[in-house]
């Protein structure tokens, strides 16, 4: 039920982000979702890609600091309060969201969000029992 996310440490220097996208493009790896969190000095780029292991290897080979993080992809019902209900459900069970970002897909009417929880296994259990649809990694990578 979990997904592998690649995290990359980036200095805030011109051209570093495009360097990442170039390396991945040259290796025929598709970026499925992307989020950049940054401060004035550095940033952390988070990616969901079509081929995790290959992406990790080519980025490392090109001198990037690469980490592996486990995240969860959740389908958010396309109705008012759809996201709020998910957050409220987790909050009542004491699970915190470290960060989240949107996953862009071509088809389907529901939005997909990527979540990083402080307690991943518990979050999956709560969401499943709450009737929410979780998208497994192998499906997500090829969506």
């Amino acid at each position: 039920m979990k997904c592998e996310q690649i995290s990359i440490f980036l200095e805030n220097r011109a051209g570093r982000l495009s360097e990442v996208t170039r390396v991945l493009a040259e290796s025929q790896i598709n970026i499925r979702a992307l989020s950049l969190a940054d401060t004035s000095d550095f940033g952390i780029l988070r990616l969901i890609v079509s081929n995790f292991e290959k992406a990790k290897q080519v980025l490392k080979d090109n001198g990037f600091t690469v980490g592996r993080t486990t995240v969860v992809a959740v389908e958010v019902p396309d109705q008012p309060g759809g996201l709020h209900n998910i957050l409220a459900l987790l909050s009542t069970h004491g699970v915190n969201v470290e960060y989240m970002y949107a996953f862009v897909q071509q088809s389907g009417k529901n939005a997909v969000m990527i979540f990083r929880f402080d307690r991943t296994d518990q979050a999956i259990e709560i969401l499943t029992q709450g009737g929410l649809k979780i998208i497994p990694g192998d499906v997500l990578y090829t969506m």
């Binding site: 995290s7 440490f9 200095e11 401060t39 952390i44 600091t65 980490g67 993080t69």
Partner: protein, 434 residues
Amino acid sequence: MIFDVELETMPREELEALQLRRLQSLVSRAYHNVPFYRRKFDEAGILPADIRSLKDLARLPFTMKQDMRDHYPFGLFAVPKDNVVRIHASSGTTGKATVVGYTKRDVKNWARLMARCLMAAGATSLDTVHNAYGYGLFTGGLGAHYGAEELGATIVPISGGGTNRQVQLLRDFEPTVICCTPSYMLVLIEAAEQAGIDIRKLPLRIGIFGAEPWTDEMRREIEERAGLTAIDIYGLSEIMGPGVAISCHEAQCGLHMFEDHFLPEIIDPETGTPLPPGSTGELVLTTLTKEAQPLIRYRTRDITSLNYVPCKCGRTHVRMQRVTGRSDDMLIIRGVNVFPSQIETILLETEGTAPHYQLIVDRQGNLDTLEVRAEVNERFFTDEIKGLQRLEGKIRKSIKEFLGVSTKVTLVEPRSIERSVGKAQRIVDLRKKQ
């Protein structure tokens, strides 16, 4: 094992008597053969016959690096040029190069001293030495080379640079001893990791590291990541080259200075006053046996202390503490004395940063600013901003706590700080340009 048992374990009384005889002969040779020394002694009102005990050494004037530059290239030679068989020189980054000459006997003594070092490090004639010190005018390469041959070990004279090839030969030639700078050892460890070679599984068992200041923490990190015993070596080209002092593998606590050849003192770098045993200050060296270019009370600029407590290895020669900084490298930040090595210690104690760092000193208005750029360590990388900010804060707080200066800490990508093959370039002082 001890290479020169009789000399290295000589009772201190006998050693001091030997030192005095050699000092008297040295002062006389310098006075009669080098116009520079004759003029300095005359100005100070001292004759060679005035040296009656080792204490009289303090009456002699100091020799500075500038004196060597002023007499460039051969003005300090004490023998006719015909008797000089080799010349080394330092890179003159801040002016003229300093030149050092050697007679046949000087080269022989140097080889024996380096052989002593290798054996103190735990090596024997059965070992293979991978010598990654640079060959050429720099004393490191040839110094270690002749020592290994004197010992009867097998030497691989690879010199510096060509990191991938070095890693390949570490695997293929199976050396058991490596000589290089500590920062270059870290470069080799990283290159090996990237090439998928586990250095810890190679036969390499002893590392002899010198030519730049480093810390205990860095030593432990190298020992752990490379699976070897890391030994400190000390030397400087003006005095001879590597082989002036070495830590023994039995105690790994301070570097035995070969006192039958070098007479050490510790002085206050500000006033020049000799300090009592155990004090930390600037190391001053007198070469007791050098023929071609003897130096009397040479100010090394290296900060250390001397320990006369007997060592468990049996050597009676004094142990100097690893050099923790140079009086030249000392930075004054808003009136506080800061040695780069202190910052290095703090970085190494803070999990998450590799020991590659750079200090950038600048001035904003009338205020000095210090920025510490430290590489994030891959093994401790977290994908959360607050985790990395916590790391920055932790380093900033430790520096403030231990050194009393406020700094800006910037985490940078691994391998983004330029690696140096020789001495690490760790300080960028932008104030000097203003």
